[in-house]
Symmetry: C3
Subunit: 134 residues, 3 copies
């Protein structure tokens, strides 16, 4: 039987690190992630498809997590969370990107759904420069 | 066996009230929610983390529901829907926030997934001023 | 037993066409869809509720797919994917709308969850001018 976890994440902690911890503690290596809540600050990445580099944007304000959408698979043999964020500021304006390190939780409610199936691992993909599912 | 409901919501009704009604009629007290569609008007909230108050923004225009993401748990013993909205206007510009009362449905398609497990209730959380999962 | 598919989508292909292909190859006619990733270009629709016409916006830049949220049901007897997109540009600015034809994948990771139940078909709805669930 596959697991689905509804989990409040800890204030002051890093969002992706917390999600990764929950997956590892529950032995979830394949799954879906959704998160809503708010953050004390955000760090959003944009991948330059031609230059093949991530640019990180610092959002040093309190924001709502409108949608944290992502998945869980293996990277180098360990559970890895790939999460994209849409955020809203005090005027309801939106900003978003790939969730980098440094997203600090104010309050967050995550749902992590284990998905049964074969081992799913990320490996380097030459056409994109990213680590993708084989 | 847990239920998953695919439900068209009624034009002219309040979005959160409709989702709550569907949960209560189906005895869903723990779950995940996703919604897409369009609204006749929107009411979005932003939580001021320091002042501990919600500010409501009135969006008096027709908008697409790009992503309605949320969860179901208990508040005061009854099914409660916590929903965040990302919306798009006629220029594809985005706005978003916590779904307040007053989001009027034009057309909406919801998927509500019951999640088995222990009773999950919201209680007041002193560090944030919000009603969160214990 | 219902299926959940975690699927990398092919670079250079149309996003909605790829999702539709995966559903049809796996005989999924009722379900939920989430996608994250990036696109080489985007085509977003906005439905004018009064005029009852879709306006298409061309986004001729590389964008992140912050949230692709949608569902699968039947239209004219075949699996049909209804998908809404929230996108982010290199400055983390967001734009979004209904996924039209012409969203070209750079890298995309989809999760398609089959939802058991009665046949769910779209038919013309006079009050909105859309093809909705009966």
């Amino acid at each position: 039987m596959s697991k689905t976890i509804m989990q409040r994440l800890q204030k002051g902690e890093d969002l992706v690190a917390e999600l990764t911890r929950v997956c590892r503690e529950n032995n979830i290596t394949r799954g879906a992630v959704q998160v809503i809540g708010a953050m004390e600050q955000a760090r959003l990445g944009y991948y330059h498809q031609d230059a093949r580099t991530y640019e990180t944007h610092a959002i040093d304000q309190h924001v709502e997590i409108l949608a944290g959408i992502g998945n869980v698979s293996l990277l180098d043999g360990e559970a890895f969370v790939h999460l994209h964020l849409t955020l809203g500021d005090s005027t309801c304006r939106c900003m978003g990107g790939h969730a980098m390190e440094g997203n600090i939780i104010f309050a967050a409610e995550a749902i992590i759904t284990e998905i049964p199936g074969d081992t799913l691992s990320r490996t380097f993909d030459e056409p994109t420069g990213l680590k993708l599912w084989a």
